[in-house]
């Protein structure tokens, strides 16, 4: 009764509760989705303005940039939609309210994630899909079953990388009680550098971004799709297999989380 099927059913039960709770604040749902879309629209507009002056960045024109931006944003939205409750995680640890997840018959992580529904990540996801859709018709890529399948895997892989890294960083809070700042910093790095072709940051920059591993989220798979693997500065096979990086990162992160959970100290009462 702790198997995967039960966990999925428990998730649906809890999600049902979260939806019922959220509909009590209907105005909030609409506003947060609009805010999310506006925020990301502004981000892409910045790149547009830059490209309008320079036309190409490291050989990437506006269509290529939109594909990269769209893929990154969709991957970001894909992990944020289910994982946004991690933002409250260290509060739960510090105040001891994480206790409740440990005395119910479902995975504590799953219970945390289904505590509430946030709607701003849907704004990210929707604006990402809009940019990506527009980019797909603008770029010079032959969209057949194979390329589309690769795109889908790349998006899921990118989501798993960002989500996995945020999960591993969050679990530090089991020991230190607070991990918000490091999470925020890493998230900013992904948001800042993930949207540009990593080559523009020079060899050293590219190396750092490969280790973190920002380039695996969207830059490498976008390079593969655009036929620029040779320009990415990494062996072609690494670029081609980049969607798998997500599986590795997410698995490792989940194991870290499980290990760190044993160090949970609850609160005084």
């Amino acid at each position: 009764m702790t198997g995967v099927r039960w966990q999925l059913r428990a998730a649906l039960i809890l999600l049902g509760g979260a939806v019922r709770g959220a509909v009590q604040y209907r105005a909030d749902i609409v506003f947060t989705m609009i805010a999310g879309a506006l925020y990301n629209g502004a981000g892409f507009a910045t790149i547009w303005v830059v490209l309008d002056r320079f036309e190409v960045i490291a050989g990437w024109d506006i269509g290529d940039m939109a594909l990269l931006y769209g893929m990154r944003l969709v991957a970001h939205g894909l992990w944020l939609v289910p994982f946004n409750q991690l933002d409250w995680f260290s509060d739960h640890v510090r105040e001891g309210s994480f206790d409740r997840y440990l005395v119910r018959p479902a995975s504590p992580l799953l219970q945390l994630l289904t505590t509430r529904i946030q709607f701003s990540p849907f704004g990210d996801l929707i604006s990402g899909l809009v940019v990506l859709g527009a980019a797909m018709s603008a770029v010079d890529v032959d969209w057949g079953p194979l390329t589309v399948a690769y795109l889908v895997f790349a998006l899921i892989g990118g989501a798993l990388i960002e989500g996995g890294i945020q999960l591993a960083l969050s679990s530090i809070a089991f020991r230190t009680l607070k991990a918000d700042q490091v999470k925020l910093t890493v998230d900013s790095v992904f948001n800042l550098f993930g949207n540009y072709p990593a080559r523009i940051f020079g060899t050293a920059g590219q190396l750092v971004l490969s280790v973190i591993p920002v380039v695996f989220v969207a830059y490498l798979p976008a390079s593969v799709l655009l036929g620029r693997v040779d320009a990415a500065g990494l062996p072609a096979v690494v670029a081609w297999l980049s969607p798998l990086a997500g599986v590795v990162v997410a698995t490792a992160s989940y194991l870290v989380w499980r290990r760190m959970l044993l160090g949970y100290q609850s609160s005084g009462t």
Partner: protein
Amino acid sequence: MPLIEARGLVKDFHRPRRRTGRFAGLRTLVSRERETVRAVDGVSFSIESGELVGYLGPNGAGKSTTIKMLTGILTPTAGEVTVAGVVPWRKRQDNARNIGVVFGQRSQLWWDLPLVESLRLVGKLYRMPRTRYEENLAKFVELLDMRPFLDTPVRQLSLGQRMRGDLAAAMIYEPAVLYLDEPTVGLDVIAKERIRKFVADLSSTSGTTVLLTTHDMDDVEALCERLILIDHGKVLYDGTPAALKDSYAPQRELVVQLASPCEVTVAGARTVESGEGVVRLSFDPAETPAAALISELFGNYPVTDVSLQETDLEDVIKKIYAGRS
């Protein structure tokens, strides 16, 4: 085999060692030195199925920490614990199906949902058959008088209502063990009384094993056949409330009303207070049986009334806490 078994349970908490003096904050931050606080220090006990046990101790004695190890929330530093054959921290989700937990300080209900929705979610998480759930819900609504606020969002409930809701949520799936961590804290007299009656009924009709922590000795007097007293993380006493009173406060008091004021001296009893025709005598029932004392008084003095004072558990506990180092 006992339902709950703890053997040599230890829990240490670590925190960075605080520095004092110049740049204290910065030095605390960079230091890797930690200090260890031992909250639970070798606690052992076993509880049989159906027992109702009070787990008592002053603030910071290690009560909540023990409960959290029994529920699987905390991983013990050392020692062993099994609850219904399950090691809680290893198999949290299996353990969760066997236990109900109520923390007086913190609700486990869904804040934004009506109470009845919270109960429904709990029923589903514990995979209750629908008819069984409906039966139990009807029973608990009746017993805890929850009908007036069943459809109120939890955030709008009063403390007493919320506590009743939490009790229902912890028991609706019929767990074998119920942990109550200060269930009556902050409640008024009526609300306390209602909770006590519910727990007593549950224990006697369903045979639920209950482990209760509280600072309210009325809870203990009303409910517990057995007490485990801990302090500084160690068990000080494990036994019946009556035996605790006998060992820590063996003296009992007899209040004697006299027709006319006079000096009273009886062998085996000491006068604690005397005046206006009333005398309070203190005696040890093991040496001087109350019956012998009373008959001697009636034989020698103009006694109009006598009353034997029950030893107050509150006083006994106070004495123990005060005597600790």
